[in-house]
């Protein structure tokens, strides 16, 4: 920067001194009669209204004191102002950009958002409509710099809307040298003769020109009322949520991931489609059943693997965050992980949920306390899993469990309950009830055919309730025809009056699952809770993976004894309702 040179320093000091003494006309209008000025102004308005009444414009006479009755021609005055017409033109242009579904899709495309020309143009439009013209200007300039003619036209209107005529004309010239943009929605024409009002006549000379004259200035057929484009509040909030103050650029708004999500939602685009992430459910559902079954027999194709993909992405994000001790911005993370923005948001949400990342100031993230805990080694990771489970418990409104298949047995390794979300009473050893419990099914589904047979040969399916499946074929069929990623259910198969759901996950070589139980056989509530469990499974899996680095393989307990390090009451049926978290 030029002001860094020694000479520049001297120059700047002198400049500041000179600027300090640059005040002029300080006393010039000290005695100005503002009351007289207001009376002059009011008289003009009154005279204008009576003229317009006399000319048959509007039936309204002089307003009563305290009343504001706009005369019929007021909007014509507004329309005749160049800056108003320019602002209206820019409103329309921004609105057209924001409203176009195809353009949103283009702007959000992976590899484009948030630094592509289209993204900048769209974001600028959003900021303009959110009443942040300076923020919009920055991104219009960004897009114009990338060669967008529409952006240069927008800047022409933007500066004209502030009556910055010279700057406006500069952008008008720029726009003429740029080739037309491709793939833009059909933008409204820049109003012709926009600047006519600037050169023509002064509206309020004495006598003021009448509204009839103004009407002549207006192109016929244009709606006189300024349309008000109202951005949905959520979209506006998202667009203006990430704000920075820059020494050279002033107030700058950044297109954060929330903006991407809000834009996608507004355009009714499925955010999933934008992340290049195949929708595994849909893909699997399209496969013929035999194929699904065949796919299941190979461990790589198990449903848990699908979740692993997003977990791996999340771990990549975590890796970047933990490298920056002083906090790191989303933009930097995106640059280093090359993840699409929407995948990044979901990863960040999961990290924040499991306390692996914490927002530190606007737009910056640091490693969360869970990461520090696991670094400590002794039980920290386990406590971390416990915290995540407690969070999930409150989210689903039911007791939640983590179970693992180790050495051929079902083992509940951790759980979280509460007085309102009691654990299921273990009236039969869980190890013998794999065929009847959601947990057992979610573990069995991850085994291949032989391992499943082996398990059932050691634990013969016993009928616990009228709903229990005791036939091996029926059970296997249920496992194989279950939608990938859909939770496995226990509909009063283990105990009457209790329903469960479990989601397969795997943080290590052993099959694992996260499950919930409800003492109310309400299928609607169960499905709802299972959906939440499904979406939070990633957070649990993450916590398990991070904890796994410091945790030994859990003891092969009496199931339900939950590895009670703090000596909490042991069994799943412990009924120690006071526990909020086991760990």
């Amino acid at each position: 920067m030029s002001d860094m040179t020694p000479d520049g320093d001297v120059a700047l000091c002198e400049l500041d001194e000179a600027l300090k003494n640059a005040v002029v006309l300080a006393e010039e209008y000290a005695g100005y009669d503002e009351y007289a000025a207001r009376r002059r102004i009011a008289r003009r308005i009154v005279a204008d209204r009576s003229r317009s009444v006399a000319a048959g414009h509007g039936s309204v006479g002089l307003p009563l004191p305290g009343q504001q009755v706009p005369a019929a021609g007021d909007h014509l005055v507004l329309d005749a102002a160049c800056h108003v017409r320019a602002a209206r033109g820019l409103d329309e242009m921004a609105w057209t950009l924001v409203e176009s579904r195809a353009f949103a899709e283009l702007a959000l495309g992976a590899g484009t958002w948030p630094h592509g020309m289209e993204s900048a143009l769209l974001f600028a439009g959003l900021l303009h409509l959110s009443g942040k013209p300076d923020g919009a200007q920055f991104w219009f300039q960004y897009a114009a710099g990338a060669g967008s003619r529409a952006a240069a036209q927008a800047l022409y209107l933007h500066h004209l809307a502030r009556a910055e005529v010279k700057t406006a004309r500069h952008w008008q010239d720029q726009a003429q040298t740029l080739p037309p943009d491709e793939d833009l929605p059909h933008l409204p024409q820049t109003p012709e003769a926009l600047e006519e009002a600037l050169g023509a006549s002064v509206i309020w000379t004495s006598p003021p020109i009448t509204t009839q004259d103004l009407a002549a200035l207006m192109a016929p057929g244009r709606s006189a009322q300024r349309p008000h484009y109202r951005l949905p509040a959520r979209l506006g909030r998202a667009a203006t949520s990430e704000r920075e103050e820059d020494d050279d650029l002033g107030e700058v708004f950044l297109p954060g991931p929330q903006t991407a999500v809000a834009v996608a939602r507004y355009a009714r685009l499925n955010p999933k489609e934008l992340t290049e992430e195949a929708n595994p459910w849909a893909l699997e559902a399209l496969k013929p059943p035999q194929l699904t079954r065949a796919a299941r027999s190979s461990p790589e194709e198990r449903p848990a693997q699908v979740a692993m993909e997003s977990v791996h992405r999340t771990l990549r994000v975590l890796e970047v965050i933990s490298r920056y001790s002083g906090g790191v911005s989303m933009t930097q993370i995106a640059r280093e992980t090359h993840l699409p923005q929407l995948a990044l948001v979901r990863a960040m949400e999961a990290l924040i949920r499991s306390n692996l990342a914490t927002p530190a100031g606007p737009g910056a993230y640091i490693a969360g306390h869970a990461l520090l805990l696991t670094g400590g080694g002794d039980g920290g990771g386990r406590r971390q899993v416990g915290e995540t489970l407690a969070w999930v418990r409150d989210a689903v409104g039911a007791a939640v469990y983590v179970a693992r298949y180790t050495e051929g047995e079902v083992s509940i390794t951790q759980y979280a309950d509460s007085p309102a979300a009691p654990v299921v009473e273990e009236w039969v050893d869980f190890r013998a009830a794999a065929h009847a419990s959601a947990v057992g099914k979610a573990l069995l589904i991850q085994l291949d055919y032989n391992a499943r047979k082996d398990h059932l040969s050691r634990h013969q399916p016993v009928r616990f309730t009228p709903h229990t499946l005791t036939s091996q074929e029926t059970l296997f069929d249920q496992l194989d025809t279950c939608h990938p990623n859909a939770p496995l259910l226990d509909l009063q198969e283990y105990a009457l009056g209790t329903v469960c759901a479990a989601v397969p996950i795997a943080s290590g070589p052993n099959p694992e699952c996260v499950a919930l139980s409800m003492p109310v056989p309400d299928p609607r509530r169960l499905r709802q809770a299972a959906r939440i469990l499904q979406s939070e499974a990633t957070a649990v899996l993450l916590a398990l993976i991070v904890a796994g680095s410091s945790d030994p393989t859990p003891r092969r307990d009496i199931p339900g004894c939950h590895d009670g390090r703090e000596g909490e009451a042991g069994t799943a049926g412990c009924g120690s309702g006071a526990l909020s978290t086991t760990w």
């Binding site: 002198e14 400049l15 640059a22 002029v24 700057t167 006549s201 003021p208 002033g250």
Partner: protein, 192 residues
């Protein structure tokens, strides 16, 4: 309004009608902004008569469209644009360039006739350099230094963020020191 404010020649009926035309918030806005608008217009147009006419025109326009003006994202930014446009129009009609440099310099001359002449000459250079700034920087510098407002006031008047005002000042200082650095600052002023 109280009795004392009314034009003695105007009768009471007209006065109360006028009061009905002037919304309270408009009166407040006018009272708060009129001097700054007058001084800005005066600098641009070079004389008090034009400045007063422009101020009247701008505020008449604002009063005429007051309900719509209040619906704008920033009333101040809207009003500022109206002021700029009126000044631009008047300059176009008069076929005159912006008069700021001379106006400011003569005003400075009148105010500080005791100052050394070279100091005034340097001021002429400063005003000329300011006149070459981009419009936004020009407005910010004018409002801040020539008209003596603080950063927050300037931000409010123009309807922009204080951080943006500061960034314009920074940019303006760099541009000014570049312009002045060569032929002005390292010159005779340096060893005073």
């Amino acid at each position: 309004m109280n009795e004392g404010e009314f034009d003695p020649s105007g009768d009471q009926a007209v006065s109360s009608e006028l009061a009905g035309v002037l919304p309270v918030d408009f009166t407040a806005f006018h009272s708060q902004q009129h001097r700054a608008y007058l001084r800005y217009a005066h600098l641009q147009l070079g004389n008090a008569k034009d400045a007063e006419e422009i101020a009247d025109d701008v505020f008449t326009f604002l009063l005429k469209v007051w309900p719509q003006a209040l619906r704008e994202a920033s009333l101040h930014a809207f009003a500022w644009a109206a002021l700029r446009e009126h000044v631009e129009r008047r300059l176009a009609v008069l076929e005159r360039p912006v008069a700021m440099v001379e106006t400011a310099w003569f005003a400075a001359l009148r105010r500080s006739s005791r100052e050394r002449l070279e100091l005034l000459e340097s001021k002429l250079g400063l005003y000329a350099a300011i006149a070459e700034l981009s419009e936004r920087q020009y407005d910010v510098v004018l409002l801040m230094f020539l008209l003596g407002n603080n950063c927050d006031t300037v931000a409010r008047m123009m309807g922009i963020a204080p951080a943006t005002v500061r960034s314009h000042i920074r940019g303006a200082r760099r541009a000014l020191s570049r312009k002045l650095g060569v032929d002005w600052i390292p010159g005779e002023e340096k060893d005073q």
